[in-house]
Every structure is written in C-alpha cells, then in structure tokens.
Symmetry: C2
Subunit: 121 residues, 2 copies
C-alpha cells in the first residue's frame, strides 16, 4: 500500500475501502514508468512544442523555417527544440550553417491522434 508515496505519512486520513486500495495497488505500473510518462506528457503540454511537433510530422524543417511558421524568435524555438531533443522526440542533421530537425519517434502521431479524439468531443 502507498506504493507511490514518497512519504506515506503525509496522508491525513484512514483507509475507507481497504480491499479496493489493495487491489488497485497491486496492478499499478512501476513508479518509474509513471514518472517517465508524466515527464513525456509534460513535454507535450506546451502549445509551442505541440506546434513544432505537428509541423515536423509533415516535413523536416530548419530552425528558421519553424520560427517563421510560428512567428516566433529563433531563440525561443531553439530552446524548445533542445527540450524535444532531450526527450528523444526529435533528431537533427547539420548541412552547412543550417540545422534540419525531424521527428525521432513515429509514435508521436499516434499519441496526438488519441489526444485529438478527446479534444474533439
């Protein structure tokens, strides 16, 4: 019980349905997986990054292209691309001065589609 708690003593109430808690507790995914999952969704949880990923879903683009498309500065785009890079959601290749970014994960489209199903209701 309290398997997902950093400090179980922080709970300020007693168990009402002990059987339910025990049953649910046994089937919860690993704590680490849940933390990683939240971290992934946090990356998706910004409109700038969603737009960037949505654009890259269609074509490889350089930083300037994305900046023009979204009407934002190169700097802010570059900052967000760094986050997407760290999350292994985008990859890049250099060609002279230009850095081309593209999707590193083919699941992004699926996740977005599932999300849009909820949004469009």
């Amino acid at each position: 019980m309290c398997a997902y708690s950093v400090d179980a003593d922080r709970c300020d109430c007693s168990s009402i349905h002990g059987d339910v808690i025990e049953a649910v507790s046994e089937h919860m995914p690993d704590e680490d997986n849940l933390l990683d999952l939240a971290e992934l969704f946090k990356v998706f949880g910004d409109s700038t990054r969603v737009k960037i990923l949505c654009a890259l879903l269609q074509a490889e683009m350089c930083v300037c292209d994305i900046a023009v498309l979204l009407g934002m500065t190169k700097s802010s785009i570059s900052h967000q691309l760094r986050i997407l890079k760290q999350s292994k959601l985008v990859k890049y290749r250099k060609d002279g001065k230009v850095v081309y970014y593209s999707l590193a994960d083919e699941h992004v489209g699926n996740i977005f589609d599932q999300g849009l199903v909820h949004v469009c209701e």
Copy 2:
C-alpha cells in the same frame, strides 16, 4: 503563413524554405485544436494526476482511498481531482459523505498506452 503566431512580427529571421513553410502551414490542424491538445497533455503532465488516472483506470475510488494509495493529503488530491474534473477526464457520484470518482473518458487508457510505448524504449 505564420498561421499559429499571435504576433508574426516576433519572428527574427527570414524564410529560408518558403515552399516547405507554405506546404506545412496548409496542413496544420486548427490553432484552437492545438491549444486544446497542449492543454490536455498539460493535465497529463503531472505525476500525481497520472497516478490518480492510472488508479481510476482500474476502479472507482473515493478521495480518501486515493489519498491513502498515493500517501498524500485529501486536500492535494481534491485539488488535482478538480483539475481532472474541469478537463472532463473524471466524473463523480456522491453517496452520503463519500464522493466516488471514476474515469469519464475511455480514451485515457489508449493515450497512456501510446505514451508508455515511447517511455519503454
């Protein structure tokens, strides 16, 4: 062009691949949908909320049950449930003093599964 920009003038560089930008721009989802999508993922982007949803994926639970399971206070759980309620991800029913929460959207499981595919690689 710059369809997703609040203020297109904020862009500090000129178009390098105009054809790419134009093609991508035409196929981007509606701005509103992208904002809603980011907002949805933002809700998923917190480990406490992920744990709550993961628990409710298995059983209807009251606030105390969730608090005990996660080792947190009723107050913090209640605050997060309010956010999940506003996003129409959970629903509730009252039985006396007890408020039972359950999932309001059958897509949550699908979205989580897709996310875990990326995480577990």
